[in-house]
């Protein structure tokens, strides 16, 4: 698809801005800071428009106009939350903040227990179940590997010591072995995460270079 008209203008603007961001390779400079400021400013303005037209208007104004008095509750809470802007009356905003923090903590804890803890226990157990056409040995091997990795990773974060032992302050032999194994699993995981981060960054670079090439080809083709 070949951009035309206004799209072409924006393509050229994006092309220039991309090069200006690439100027950061030479160090922090005013051009880079200008692009960053422009990005932040545009994003903030866009946020404000989105919040007004997609949050306040449909969720507060429209129901209020239509006669839904229930929205007065979030309205009052939101109004109290505005007192957080002034230190003198910031205590007035503690009520909605308490509601938000309490509800968020409860939801997070509930979701972690029901979604992650039970789900991961179930997943560790189901790993031993061979799928259709899969060898049970491989299933056990895979399940055992995942189980050892999980237990070893948990053992690495086990810092308790035996009470009254002469070697107090040191892990027991079994926990130490599992912790050493868990350290290997954790190292591999962090390495994978780091590689993934690099891959993500490389992908972003690739996307920009592809954009530059496409724009150059576009401009050259014209």
């Amino acid at each position: 698809m070949i951009p035309t008209g206004l799209d072409l203008v924006w393509v050229i603007v994006s092309f220039i801005l991309t090069f200006l961001v690439f100027s950061y390779f030479l160090g922090d400079n005013a051009v880079y800071r200008f692009v960053m400021a422009l990005f932040i400013g545009v994003s903030a303005g866009y946020f404000a428009v989105v919040l007004i037209f997609q949050v306040i208007l449909p969720n507060l104004v429209v129901p209020l106009v239509s006669g839904d008095r229930l929205v007065l509750v979030p309205l009052v809470l939101s109004g109290l939350l505005m007192f957080k802007l002034t230190p003198r009356f910031s205590r007035m905003g503690n009520i909605p903040m308490a509601y938000l923090v309490g509800a968020g903590a409860a939801i997070a804890v509930g979701g972690a227990v029901m979604g992650t803890l039970f789900g991961q226990v179930k997943g560790a157990w189901s790993a031993f179940l061979p799928s259709s056409g899969e060898s049970p040995f491989l299933a056990y091997l895979e399940g055992g590997f995942l189980l050892i990795g999980t237990l070893a990773s948990l053992a690495y974060f086990h810092f308790n010591a035996k009470k009254g032992s002469a070697t107090s302050g040191k892990r027991t032999v079994l926990v130490a072995i599992f912790a050493w194994i868990g350290k290997i699993f954790i190292s591999i995981t962090l390495g994978v995460v780091f590689a993934s981060v690099l891959t993500a960054a490389a992908t972003a670079l690739i996307e920009r270079t592809d954009f530059i090439l496409q724009t150059i080809q576009l401009l050259a083709g014209k």
Binding site: M1, F22, F25, L26, G27, F39, S43, Y46, F47, V50, L51, F53, Q54, V55, L57, P58, N59, V62, L100, A103, G104, I107, A108, G111, A112, M114, G115, T116, G119, Q120, K122, G123, A124, S126, A127, L146, T189, V192, V193, A195, S196, V197, L198, T199, A200, A202, T203, A204, L205, I206, E207, R208, T209, D210, F211, L213
Partner: protein, 802 residues
């Protein structure tokens, strides 16, 4: 003719006197039957009485009559001079006294103060008659064993009158001046009478401050202690503080009888300090003049010096007068002439509390002007009033002195010089090393002196701001002056030290700045070069992979199961179902997300499924709309207008997601265009999240993906939950896929490439996968190379490597 004793003061008066010459009391009439001796012996006796009777207070008339009656009598020249001078003085003195008493006498003919004195004398007299007076603790024990009749000096007036007797007429005039009497006639305030009750409280009895007898007591007592102690003085009751004056008499003073009272008084005045207060302040160590404490006594001198005291003692010829001191004692006293003075000076060290030294009130008021002396003012004869502020403990003070308030001299604070000290090259005290805690407690004012700019203070015309600044400076200066000087005692800093310190700090600051700036600049240039080089390499590789090396990339042969499952889930969605695409990623990852999700969205569009767009991040709504628009380039047959619904921004995070899982219709009542979701064909049948054909979450963060999994997956009831994530989030989401909580994952450009391969299309991911592979190899090489170098090369920063 015998002298007539006064019934009041018991002093002897001339026979022709009708009133007592001393106290002006009426004398008893003279008996006419007294035999009148007319022989030559009587005349000689009278002459002897006049010369050696120790009574220099003969009336002038009597002296004159004697001289006129016996013109042919042989009289020594010195005696004649004494007689003549004494006669003149007595005449003048009597005239003045008569004039004064005429003014002061009351109706009874006796002054009030004299009546009170007489009453006291009568009581004392009675007491003395009942029991003998105890030995005076202040009395010099080593004094000569002079025996005086107790009845002669038992009263307080007698010693006072004896003082008058040897005083000159001028001094007597001064003594009885009305201004002086104003003080002396109030005996209630000033206890001028020696208290015989002192035996009850001998320890706290006030003693004369200039009691030379007490002062000389060590000098006099020591020989007595060493030798045989003489007999106790019997019946010699001298007034306190008066008896030792005799010891100060000099031979020259005896010869110069006219000067004697003046000299003594001047000596007294020197101790009493009748001089102005300024002179007292200047006066230094209180050392009595040597001539006043001369101890060169001879037998004759001592005998003559005691004449005023023993005037009423039995008449003895001058030749038969017993010496007061023995020859041994006199020798010892002579040998103690200078050393004794030194010892005396040391003894009267005024810097030490002297609780037993008191001031005799009479001696205070005699030569001190009335306006400078009051009964409440104690006078230290040895030093100025500043010594009164010496550490006298309240317990050490006698009772009568406790009520006395010291003279508070206004302290003249010298204005502290704020000019910096001039370094004259003299050695300065070494600066002490204070402990840290003490240095922390040290006040700031003690460290930094506040210097007042003089030009500011001298400006004639100042603005308001300058005036305020001047006021503040004055306040600060006043505060500074008021601070104890002890705080800045050891903190003197000379200008040279200040200059050196400033120079050193400047040099150190410049050196550090230059070195640091050079180092920073060098490191900055080096880092910039490396960063630019790496960036150039990466950009070049990316361009090469997308252009020249595009066909050399390895194509994926094995498709990951999570991508395949995603494809299968999308492929298995019913045609009338709506797929919810929820975007929760940052704009910075929009490029990667686009490469990752492009194939998936194309697949949905190819299947002509309804799409509902929801953004958790406000910018995602536009980015998702752009994705749809890009998908239309590959699937132009897709009717995006009727198939795609933008639900807009959905705030609330985990709470909103949890609420969304409970009821979609209530949570999202309106679309981004403020159209009711219930009125849209693709959404009117959807009440819960399970009613969607699939829920695709596009995110770049594992935390966001976990929230969707935790909060929404339990409510889906078999509806597939698919994840399109950034490459950095896939490792943490993979366990949820393994556990079955996530139906499929498409992560990163690699996942998008696989999805394209599964679909059999060529999209942007396939076009750039070579670049990704090259950059991955390059990054792996850099990581390995950097790790190897850091492992081999020692740490340049000196940090400890574990």
């Amino acid at each position: 003719m015998d002298k007539r004793p006064c019934p009041i003061c018991t002093r002897l008066n001339e026979p022709q006197e009708t009133h007592c010459w001393f106290c002006h009391a009426e004398l008893a009439p003279v008996s006419t039957d007294q035999p009148q001796s007319s022989d030559w012996l009587s005349g000689l006796r009278q002459d002897q009485d006049a010369t050696s009777d120790n009574n220099p207070i003969l009336p002038a008339e009597s002296t004159k009559s004697n001289e006129t009656d016996k013109p042919d009598e042989f009289v020594p020249d010195w005696l004649s001079r004494i007689r003549s001078k004494e006669a003149v003085e007595r005449a003048e003195k009597k005239a003045q006294e008569d004039k004064y008493w005429a003014e002061k006498q009351s109706h009874s003919g006796v002054p009030d103060w004299l009546q009170s004195l007489n009453e006291d004398n009568a009581e004392i007299k009675t007491n003395n008659e009942v029991e003998p007076a105890p030995p005076d603790p202040n009395k010099v024990k080593s004094a000569s064993p002079i025996e005086e009749p107790s009845t002669t000096f038992a009263s307080g007036d007698d010693w006072l009158e004896s003082l008058k007797s040897w005083q000159s007429a001028d001094e007597t005039d001064n003594l009885i001046q009305p201004e002086n009497l104003e003080i002396t006639e109030s005996p209630a305030e000033i206890e001028i009478t020696p208290q015989p009750e002192s035996q009850e409280f001998p320890e706290i009895l006030p003693e004369p401050e200039f009691d030379l007898g007490k002062i000389f007591s060590p000098l006099i007592e020591e020989p007595v202690i060493e030798s045989e102690k003489p007999a106790e003085p019997q019946g010699v009751v001298l007034p306190e503080g008066f008896q030792p004056f005799d010891l100060t008499f000099d031979e020259t003073e005896i010869q110069e009888t006219n000067r004697q009272p003046e000299q003594v008084d001047s000596d007294l005045s020197s101790t009493v300090d009748s001089r102005p207060q300024e002179e007292l302040e200047i006066e230094s160590a209180p050392v009595l003049p040597n001539e006043n404490v001369d101890n060169h006594f001879s037998n004759e001198d001592l005998a003559i010096s005691l004449e005023p005291i023993i005037e009423d003692s039995p008449v003895q010829p001058l030749e038969s007068a017993q010496p007061i001191f023995s020859d041994d004692q006199i020798d010892i006293s002579q040998s103690l002439d200078q050393s004794g003075l030194n010892f005396f000076n040391d003894l009267i060290d005024v810097t030490q509390p002297q609780p037993n030294i008191l001031i005799e009130p009479e001696e205070i008021v005699e030569n001190v002007p009335t306006d400078e002396v009051s009964a409440d003012i104690p006078i230290n004869p040895f030093k100025g009033d500043d010594l009164l502020l010496e550490p006298f403990a309240p317990d050490d003070l006698p009772e009568w002195l406790t009520d006395v308030k010291p003279i508070e001299k206004p302290v003249k604070e010298k204005p502290r010089s704020v000019t910096p000290a001039v370094d004259d090259g003299s050695p300065r005290p070494e600066k002490g090393n204070l402990p840290v805690w003490l240095a922390a407690l040290r006040p700031v004012e003690a460290v930094e002196m506040v210097a007042i700019p003089e030009e500011k203070a001298q400006e004639g015309e100042t603005t308001d701001g300058d005036q305020a600044a001047n006021v503040m400076l004055e306040i600060s200066a006043a505060t500074f002056i008021g601070k104890p000087s002890d705080l800045s005692g050891g903190l003197r800093v000379s200008n040279r030290q200040k200059t050196n310190a400033a120079l050193l700090s400047e040099i150190a600051a410049n050196a550090e700045t230059v070195e640091e700036s050079e180092k920073n600049s060098a490191v900055g240039i080096k880092n910039t070069l490396w960063r630019s080089l790496l960036a150039l390499v990466f950009i070049v590789v990316a361009f090469l992979g997308g252009t020249v090396l595009n066909g050399y990339g390895l194509q994926p042969a094995l498709f990951p199961g999570e991508v395949v499952h995603t494809f299968d889930r999308i492929n298995s969605i019913a045609a009338d179902k709506t797929v919810l695409i929820a975007g929760d990623f940052e704009a910075g990852f929009a490029g990667e997300i686009r490469l990752t999700s492009q194939a998936l969205i194309e697949h949905i569009m190819r299947r002509n499924l309804n799409i509902a767009l929801m953004s958790i991040n406000p910018v995602d709504s536009a980015l998702l709309a752009d994705q749809i628009e890009r998908g239309l380039a590959f699937v132009p047959t897709y009717q995006a207008v009727g198939k795609v619904v933008d639900l807009g921004y959905f705030p609330g995070g985990a709470i909103a997601v949890q609420d969304l899982g409970n009821s979609f219709a209530n949570t999202v009542p309106l679309t981004a265009d403020l159209v009711a979701t219930s009125s849209i064909d693709s959404l009117k049948n959807i009440q819960n999240m399970a009613d969607f054909g699939a829920i695709i979450v596009i995110t770049d963060k594992a935390e966001t993906a976990r929230v969707w999994i935790e909060q929404l997956q339990p409510t889906l009831n078999g509806t597939p939950l698919l994840m399109v994530t950034s490459a950095q989030a896939s490792p943490l989401i993979q366990p949820y896929y393994q556990s079955g909580q996530v139906s499929g994952i498409v992560s990163g450009m690699a996942g998008g490439l696989v999805y394209e391969r599964i679909m059999g299309s060529t999209g942007e991911a396939g076009r750039n996968h070579t670049s990704l592979q090259l950059l991955s190899v390059l990054m792996a090489a850099l990581v390995l190379g950097g790790g190897f170098i850091s492992l081999v090369k020692p740490d340049s920063t000196g940090g400890k490597r574990q």
